[in-house]
Symmetry: C3
Subunit: 223 residues, 3 copies
Amino acid sequence: MILLAIVQPVIHIWLAYFPPGTIHLAVVDPGVGTDRKIIAGRYNDQTVVAPDNGLVSFVDAEYPLESIASVRNRGLFLRSPVGTTFDGRDVMAPVAAALVDGAKLQQLGPPPDTYKLLDLPEVQYGGGVLVGRVLYIDRFGNCITNIRRELITQSLPALGRVEVSAGGQMIGRLLGAFAHAQEGQPLALLNSMDLVEIAVNAGNAREVLNLSVGDEVVVSYGQ
Amino acid sequence: MILLAIVQPVIHIWLAYFPPGTIHLAVVDPGVGTDRKIIAGRYNDQTVVAPDNGLVSFVDAEYPLESIASVRNRGLFLRSPVGTTFDGRDVMAPVAAALVDGAKLQQLGPPPDTYKLLDLPEVQYGGGVLVGRVLYIDRFGNCITNIRRELITQSLPALGRVEVSAGGQMIGRLLGAFAHAQEGQPLALLNSMDLVEIAVNAGNAREVLNLSVGDEVVVSYGQ
Amino acid sequence: MILLAIVQPVIHIWLAYFPPGTIHLAVVDPGVGTDRKIIAGRYNDQTVVAPDNGLVSFVDAEYPLESIASVRNRGLFLRSPVGTTFDGRDVMAPVAAALVDGAKLQQLGPPPDTYKLLDLPEVQYGGGVLVGRVLYIDRFGNCITNIRRELITQSLPALGRVEVSAGGQMIGRLLGAFAHAQEGQPLALLNSMDLVEIAVNAGNAREVLNLSVGDEVVVSYGQ
């Protein structure tokens, strides 16, 4: 089994690259020490251990939930009582290790009555136009959106003549590679997760285009 | 055995989380190439390989020294003579690897006559007030002090009514979790190492409060 | 076998520290998605998998090429057809893994007709003076040049009286260790790769001396 520790919520695509049985330990946990639960959910024959703050939302939107537990079995924690500021170390990592060691989801605790899902922005379609948003900006300044390849191919006549604008600025045709734009020039491309991404070849799109998470990205069929 | 390579001096708390036999390789070594020694000290049934520049001070203050060697056995080095600018690669890593492979401390060299310990700031107590200092600021801007939980519980009537000020600014009651403060607001809490920490919920305490390493942090019993 | 994934081109020195059979996976690949090839070259009984953009130039200048393949065997790729924006994941990593698993270079594809080598700056010698350049600036601001120890010892009477200037500024004698300069003072030293390096003790040479990649560094025999 593989144990993967991550610090980003965008994991729904990643699951496709990991084998059955992988345990994902996800610790983005500003609510540590409050009464928010910790959950372990199984999707695509893999398990995600995470705080119940919506961190599983992208995975949950992509894959059917196969089984879920609220993490309550103190016998699996590093010690009891645990501290209030680092459940990643004291609770989630030991529980993920127990799962790698063969523990079953039911041993962690009973299923929760509910679990939290974020209100993810949806892509709007109308009048031949798709309107999505910047979801995430990586450390290179590339702006990743929620607009997927199949949404475009299902809605618009052909990928080749699609045009993309971001934050009100026309970027241009959807290109196939960073290097299809001149160095320093903005471009829109379908990235390695099959999502529309706004980038600058050998540059920083966030800075050059002054983009932020949440900004509108529009895909339309070109003239 | 576990081999842990670290770049921070604050390792006395970490030892509690590692199993007996762990080898810690610590390379914060601005004096590389001078005549400063390299030492290997055993504490808590674990071994720390480090330059003799005070890097073991926190561990040494917490655990009794069980045994120590000056690292002189050139047969264990990567080659001989070694260079003068990267003993981490040429000396310390190969020696740590030899220890993982089963070498005994005595094989590294004889015990040193002395080894260097930093003059660590101590927490002062008087008139119902504990005065400590910011020891370390992490990459999120959280300011970690030398004031431990047990020092407070031994000195003051109750944790619940304790008040903390830092750099002359009143921070407030000692909270149990980051999220017990409003977003963007400063707080003092007992962190995951049981040390008083000055933080800003979802923010940067170093910037917001203009704190530096060495700044005074005062814990007193509230009205 | 060891698999090493790297993101810097300066690997010719590193090969000396890895055992025969090591597979180096090098992904600095701004041309991903264009028609640039991917190659796997064997040097010093180790293999470098890399885009054909000159990334192997330093290794190639140091070691004779023992064998080379263009990476074309789609049966080894993650899937076929692969995407156009992350060959590191879809092509190079699976191919490197296949090599670790015992695949032979010939199984990857036929040798390429040519492969790309960068026009590396050479050190000029004349009139008792060596003129090289800053090749790379690390994250501490240390400026690493293309001037090697043996070039100096072969050209000039003695290392001990050599003087170094960088970007038109006299730095001083070639020192043996960072700590041989005062804190905050610039120095020139032979670094852990036996290259002349311009540094500031406990500081940032790029900022203090306003140096950039490509700047001239001059080594001469002192008075």
